[in-house]
Symmetry: C2
């Protein structure tokens, strides 16, 4: 509510500073957003529960600390923390967010973040878009963040279900503009449900399989045997167990289903091997080869 | 047997031409040996059942065609064909191989090749060493071969069990010298049994898991979701089904065992997810992360 003649009008109803960005959580992803946007000339205010990180980032890349006073002046707020922490932050700070701002998260699951955040956003009249930048490394933490982390990476976005048609297009356009310095390749609009189903397969299953792969006792014998395929299969075996556990549990139905599918498929090869069934084994291999070739061909078309 | 005054003594008992190499099979691996050794100044004679390939290679990289007359003059013979074809070649040509030469294969399994080849080699008084160059790509065929294929790659070698101690060291030294232009990183001596156990894990299992990974129906939905982990996990899903089927069947006991191990491990994650057991799931992930870190640390030490 505007109060004329108020001594501190800016604290009552602060104005947006165009392009000003607030970042909550300075890990690998939040740090990379901070670096990319700061490099692109944006004013970046960041907050991390670890004060040392916030101060370090303030010296290195950001304009200052994201305080309650600054929140209302941000045009974009990036929540780059664990799923539960994103929801908690928005619940506690939605009243400070400018109605003209866009709030996004960057989490690896969308249903558990978007559903409560859409609710809170409606209540406080702010705009929330669930986002998942398809980038990262097997390392975590601010020290590994870098300005070019998102260059050429796809960005998946989930606007609230009531945002449709032209309104949706123009909202996503505006977000693309705000994130332009990050260099994302393509923005894909989807629903939280579809996102979580696909991500259980493309990313979460990969981490589970990789993490399981290294558990064979044969690993200890592999001296002098390093091979590219082993390295590729196990690259993401190294992971942040706490973060991935939260992501996996938020998508437990889809991920358990995908693990079940790959177990069923693997059992077919095992069975063919045990029966020394060359024709069945060749068919199984040829089928996978065919699917992968079609997948690669589709990628080249895009 | 030497016959004095024979009109064609060279056909009776030909002398080795130092460094001269015969290559049987001009696929990805044979072609790469041909290119690397020719580039290193060696005389390379090659044979492929596909005459077009042999002629093409003769123009491009090799000195000529590996005929029966040339076999006895080679110091090194590289059998770069499928396992059964390697054994068949040696059985048919061992009588032509010079007793001072070394014959190697390059196959991905060692028990099924080494056991019969050691037998044949003993019978004809020639030297056979089972070899597995730890290099390759997801592509096959001469067209994808290249001179630098083996640069920095490990080479695993299996001399006959009766070759021991100093004799073994000096034999491997000689082979290292003959293959010097290939630029292998390290030669590791092992037994065919240990080789096959380890390779079932480091290479064969990777191909099976990758090939099975692409079979989820969710693959069709992944548009806009490409992620590094999916790409790494499925790189080797594309493979030569006929070749891998033969390799897998020659190592069926070990490979079926490894598939069984990863199925058991994957089931543990699935179970923890279905029970929403955060503590068990975190433990499983932390265990894999710890093993992978230790594995990486060991690699850095080497």
């Amino acid at each position: 509510m505007m109060v004329e003649g108020n001594a501190h009008p800016e604290t009552e109803s602060p104005s947006i500073v165009p392009g000003r960005t607030g970042i909550v959580g300075l890990g690998l992803i939040g740090g990379s957003f901070a670096r990319a946007l700061a490099k692109g000339g944006r004013e970046v205010y960041a907050y991390d529960p670890n004060e040392e990180i916030t101060s370090f980032a303030a010296i290195e890349t950001t304009t200052g600390v994201l305080t309650d006073e600054i929140i209302g002046t941000c045009e974009l707020i990036v929540l780059a923390c664990y799923p539960e922490a994103c929801v908690a932050w928005l619940r506690e700070h939605a009243n400070l967010v400018n109605s003209g701002a866009i709030v996004i998260d960057t989490g690896g699951v969308k249903r558990s973040i978007c559903e409560p955040c859409f609710e809170i956003a409606r209540e406080f009249g702010v705009t929330f878009i669930g986002c998942h930048p398809m980038a990262g490394t097997q390392f975590s933490g601010y020290a590994h963040s870098r300005a070019n982390m998102f260059e050429g990476a796809p960005m998946v976005v989930c606007p609230a279900p009531e945002v449709r048609g032209v309104e949706c297009l123009s909202l996503v356009d505006r977000l693309e503009g705000l994130l332009a310095p990050c260099g994302f390749d393509k923005f894909t609009v989807t629903t939280p449900e579809r996102h979580d189903r696909v991500i259980a397969y493309t990313s979460q299953l990969a981490h589970v399989v990789s993490n399981a792969y290294v558990k064979s006792p044969t690993l200890g014998l592999r001296d002098g045997f390093s091979a590219g395929s082993y390295k590729d299969l196990t690259r993401v075996a190294r992971l942040n167990p706490t973060m991935w556990c939260e992501l996996f549990l938020d998508d437990a139905d889809n991920l358990a289903n995908e693990i079940g599918i790959i177990i069923t498929e693997l059992s077919k090869y095992k069975d063919a091997l045990e029966k020394r069934d060359a024709s069945r084994l060749t068919d199984l291999l040829a089928e996978g080869d065919r699917i992968k070739r079609a997948d690669l061909a589709k990628e080249e078309e895009v």
